[in-house]
């Protein structure tokens, strides 16, 4: 990935209210953030609201990025997830059912033609999907509900009628397995987490 300006410089310029820098940041993260938000809220309009709120917070400094906390990508994902969880809790967007685009049956997911400046991470995404695919149905269910569904372990326990201890052990086992595969895949594809 080539970066004209590094993330830190971009955030500094946004801090001094440079709209061009905001646009650059937007272009860089739009697709990744939108896809993640969509995965969580499962609704195009709601996902756009999440993106809107994220960039508003970036612009108004309502959420401050501190380099010491790690990569900007990580910070952006964390804020995005928090916004999406708030939204999922506020209104049940899943029930609204407003399809924005009429996709065809059996449509294949977009292969993702990002520009060089987009945070594309296509291979990382594929790698992650591959890693998730090794999980059992039960493991997938807990990871899905907690991470993408924003549920707590207690909520998962009630929703799927599983004892709390089982939720805990499934999460532990799932992450352990994923970690194992991440390091295997990482060695194969030269990923450095």
């Amino acid at each position: 990935m080539t970066e004209a300006l590094d993330d830190r410089e971009l955030m500094n310029r946004i801090g001094s209210k440079d709209p061009v820098a905001l646009e650059w940041l937007y272009d860089r993260y739009e697709k990744t953030v939108y896809s993640f938000a969509y995965r969580m809220v499962q609704d195009a309009m709601a996902a756009e609201e999440v993106v809107q709120e994220l960039f508003l917070r970036v612009w108004t400094h309502d959420e401050r990025y501190d380099e010491a906390q790690g990569k900007l990508t990580t910070w952006i994902f964390t804020v995005t997830r928090n916004i999406a969880i708030d939204m999922l809790r506020r209104k049940s967007v899943r029930d609204r059912g407003i399809p924005v685009e009429a996709e065809t049956l059996n449509a294949l997911p977009d292969a993702g033609a990002g520009t060089a400046d987009q945070v594309e991470n296509k291979s990382e995404g594929e790698q992650m999907r591959k890693i998730l695919s090794v999980l059992s149905r039960d493991q997938k269910q807990v990871i899905d509900s907690i991470y993408y569904g924003g549920m707590t372990q207690q909520e998962v326990s009630v929703r799927y009628n599983i004892p709390l201890g089982t939720v805990k052990s499934r999460v532990r086992l799932a992450l352990k397995q994923m970690k194992k595969h991440l390091s295997v895949e990482g060695r194969r594809e030269g990923y450095h987490g």
Partner: protein, 296 residues
């Protein structure tokens, strides 16, 4: 390490994944301060959870999203006026409180810092400075007017939403009153056989549309359905041309499943069942299993 602490160590994975409630979270974070092993583990786990968002299938953003998102943010900035330095950021609907440094520029303290290029004593340049201040004040007043107008529009839109919501509530109350009552005069409007969508599918099913005082209902039954794995589910769709509306999902028991859906007849032409990766999709993503033409 006592038992309590040991139990807290077991929460590292849930913590990294974001699955702890407020109480557990506070307890675990307090524990984390004193437990080097957990800190190390969380750090390792974060390498994994940090890239989980990338596993989301890439979805193209809706057309025009960029201009809407950036437009709203930057319009907020301009509505507040460009007078001060730094530019004031007005409070937007749902937005955060403006920061104190910004408030001072526009409202509380109308005298801005002197322009950087001014030199000499303030007295010498008092006229120039006064002119500058009045220009800034005029700009601030103008932008506040624009901002107020924008707020009024927002209030108008919110009022309309409120009126629409109350209408919906009375509609829902009427439906609720009916829901408790037993079905009366249930009439079968249409029943169609659902045919396999591909040669290797042996599934078959029946879609029945029935009408009673409560509305129009779709009943779908199917058997010999393919085996589901993972979080997969079957999903029923009502289709009109290119538009597909989810009628709900169901799981099968030994290949047999059924579901029930109440809907507004909209001239749907097809009913279809797909095998989906999970039960949360709003548009079909999986394989088409059964379909039949209807007149719903």
């Amino acid at each position: 390490m006592d038992k309590m602490e040991e139990e807290l160590c077991q929460l590292a994975e849930l913590y990294a994944l974001g699955g702890l409630n407020e109480t557990d979270l506070q307890q675990f974070e307090a524990h984390l301060e004193g437990c080097a092993a957990c800190r190390e583990q969380v750090k390792e786990l974060r390498k994994l959870t940090d890239i989980l968002p990338l596993a989301a299938v890439q979805v193209p953003p809706p057309a025009g999203m960029k201009s809407r998102v950036l437009g709203k943010i930057l319009a907020g900035r301009e509505a507040g006026g460009e007078s001060g330095n730094p530019a004031p950021t007005p409070k937007t609907i749902n937005g955060p409180e403006p920061e104190p440094e910004f408030i001072s520029a526009g409202t509380r303290n109308p005298v801005p810092a002197p322009p950087p290029k001014l030199s000499g004593t303030p007295a010498k340049h008092s006229n120039k400075r006064l002119r500058y201040v009045s220009v800034v004040l005029a700009a601030a007043a103008a932008s506040l007017t624009i901002y107020a107008a924008a707020l009024q529009r927002d209030v108008g839109a919110l009022r309309q939403e409120l009126a629409e919501s109350s209408e919906q509530v009375s509609g829902l109350q009427a439906q609720l009153a009916l829901a408790g009552a037993p079905s009366q005069e249930l009439k079968v409007n249409e029943a169609v056989q659902l045919g396999p969508a591909a040669e290797d599918i042996i599934a078959r099913g029946l879609a029945t549309i029935v009408i009673d005082a409560k509305g129009t209902h779709l009943l779908v039954q199917a058997e010999k359905l393919p085996k589901l794995s993972g979080s997969e589910a079957f999903q029923v769709w009502l289709i009109k041309g290119d538009v597909k509306k989810s009628a709900g999902t169901f799981l099968a028991s030994e290949g047999t499943g059924a579901m029930y859906y109440t809907f507004d007849p909209q001239g749907y032409d097809t009913v279809a069942i797909t095998q989906e990766p999970d039960s949360r999709g709003e548009q079909p993503r999986g394989r088409l299993i059964l379909a039949a033409p209807i007149e719903g």
